[in-house]
Symmetry: C2
């Protein structure tokens, strides 16, 4: 953003009243290329407008929550109608039950549901249930996996004493021997293993889950009477309309959901299978806004909308169109690139670019041509993208390649 | 609710798909008297309607979030207008900055702000900042205080190994000697002390904060270079338009907010003073929905609406009217009752009622007469209540006393 821009002025104001100018994953000063806007003023379909009026085709989808288009009319109408009648009160509206019925009806392993606000609420509740059920303490997590920013899930140095992690030993994703060894070390104290849908450990290269790994983790949990916890917060409903490991024939015991399940209305969920119902009802977890009606209504409509178009396959097609186009352009412009992850959650890297300077330049160029990409985080497609949007985005990326030194 | 009621039918459906039929503080089966509805379908001003069409004057205000009336037209309009333009995207809308400016401008100790979704997000972030700033580990908490349901704050048996609490020693609220001794035991490892606005440790009798205790805790923090963290999630904006200990002349270093700050839109906040800005910007905390625009817009309007009527004093008056009426009625009907806490966050107990059976009967009776009270949790007034509402509620409670055995 130019120094006289509205964005720049807002950043100056933000600098005074927000530590570092912005917090968390949306803080563009945390490693985004020069030129990325911090503040936005309009969103519609797959498009965003920053506060200076620049329009972008969005490949981040709010880092996942948007899956059916910003302001999707059906989902907005459902949420607004519920909000008008009843959003909060001294108990939930019936739509909580309707969503629990619908969601558990759709997800193979699920017999019951519990709702919260953050994906991290859901992963935390899964751990609590696993420990309550087993009476054991150790929860295995992927060594660089992200399950939220609460201290147990957050090893980013300051602010979290190492004691917060003593019961969270780490294993290497897709490494059967390593997860087996880590489980063995936990001995009789293994309460559960948390797995991501696939390896999307920012800023590393993405890696799909090895079906043999998935099956082995399931076996270890069965052998050790430990709980298999699937973190589908990021991948949920983009990879599959079922829990994401279902397509491999592996069912988790508990699954954590968030981000896209209500198309951006704040909602997270834990789904569980029958044996864990008693443990789930024996412990206490709650939040002031966890019974809010509008997000439940939005989620019900979101599940319908996504099912009607077989959203995961639709986003996979669109992502593949984008991926094929980028490979073709890179080759034509003489660049070696690597694209990883499922096409609907793509990530792009340049060869010999360990400091990510080239991919950062590429993204900054694309941004100027109206395409909002991310240089080191997986991106997200939505069903609001069309083939024409992808083509238009590819026109922008073609120029972006052309402008690289 | 009668067995043929809509509420009863919904509970049967919920029993199948939600562990125990409902989770958390809104689960009426967790100790609410017979007859309390679980599900609601309409809310307006200070009134709620359950799914069977029964109307209640609400003294729980959604357990705090509602402070300016369900569906407050000004706040709803502000939230809806923001939602229409921009709710979520790849960065926040400008209204985040506007709220940070407004909120820090109103709260004496605050120089900066960070926003989240759950009150418990805010208390957790305060702990992280305190540890990052001091490089120390121990955070003192009140021995029966509630700062959320995340494991560090949740000692309710199963699901939380005791190791989660080794760095959270407990002190007795209002007990200067005890907090001093506990701080001494933490030795050079004292990162912070978390205090509630006042003692509202459900289901105990409420206790206002002793000003000498507040001053002493401040002194201990200063002497030990520890951080004073005020949990104003429950009391915030009901006790004061400033941080709640401001009226005692005691300023916290960090304060946690949630519940009422956006009149029910999901929002929490950490406010901090200058010395903690660097620590706050050095650590990572985030959530998928923490940048959502509508709740920021709602919070800005809520702060205005509350200031215009000096909301804490207004709610105190209304609460006092209710309290006076209840004392008069109790005496007239021959019951000894005790009312505790600030009038705007009242709690009622019956004498010689350690099992809370009499207060439960009283509340169940009041409910049948259209007054939604709570038998063992503090209640909440709002500025949507009027003197006429309180009078009408007192007509209901008068009958409720009369029907007691």
């Amino acid at each position: 953003m130019a120094s006289g821009s509205i964005d720049a002025k807002l950043r100056k104001r933000a600098e005074r009243v927000i530590p570092g100018g912005m917090y968390g994953h949306m803080a563009v000063q945390r490693g985004m290329p020069e030129g990325y806007p911090q503040f936005f003023e309009r969103a519609s379909g797959c498009r965003l407008w920053d506060v200076d009026g620049n329009e972008y085709i969005d490949f981040m989808c709010s880092y996942g929550p948007m899956i059916a288009g910003y302001g999707n009319p059906r989902i907005r109408a459902a949420a607004d109608a519920q909000r008008e009648r009843f959003d909060i009160g001294d108990g939930p509206p019936p739509v909580l039950v309707e969503l629990a019925e619908k969601f558990t009806g759709q997800i193979t392993h699920a017999d019951w549901a519990v709702f919260a606000k953050n994906g991290n609420d859901a992963t935390t509740i899964c751990n609590m249930i696993a420990r309550a059920h087993t009476g054991k303490r150790k929860i295995l997590v992927g060594e660089s996996a992200y399950h939220g920013s609460q201290p147990w899930a957050n090893r980013r140095a300051r602010g979290t004493p190492p004691e917060e992690h003593i019961h969270y030993p780490t294993y290497r994703f897709n490494d059967v021997e390593h997860v087996r060894a880590t489980a063995r070390k936990a001995g009789g104290d293994l309460a559960g293993i948390v797995v991501s849908s696939y390896k999307h450990d920012v800023p590393q290269r993405q890696e799909l889950v090895d079906p043999a790994f998935a099956r082995e983790v399931r076996k270890i949990c069965d052998a050790e009477s430990a709980v298999l916890i699937l973190d589908d917060v990021r991948g949920g409903l983009r990879l599959s309309l079922d829990a994401s490991w279902s397509e491999l024939g592996v069912q988790p015991d508990l699954s954590a959901w968030g981000k896209a399940i209500a198309n951006g209305e704040p909602l997270a969920a834990v789904l569980g299978s029958e044996p864990y119902r008693e443990a789930a009802s024996s412990i206490f977890y709650t939040g002031s806004f966890w019974y809010q009606g509008a997000p439940f209504a939005a989620a019900i409509e979101t599940l319908d909308v996504l099912k009607e178009v077989n959203a995961p396959r639709r986003m996979e097609q669109l992502g593949q169109q984008f991926r094929d186009g980028l490979y073709e352009q890179a080759q034509r412009h003489g660049f070696g690139i690597h694209q990883s992850g499922p096409p609907q959650m793509p990530m792009i890297e340049f060869e010999n670019d360990s400091k990510k300077t080239q991919v950062a330049s590429f993204c900054a160029n694309a941004l100027r041509h109206g395409v909002y990409l991310h240089p080191w985080h997986n991106m997200f497609l939505s069903i609001a993208h069309t083939e024409a949007d992808i083509e238009q985005a590819l026109e922008g990326t073609d120029k972006a390649f052309g402008e690289l030194p």
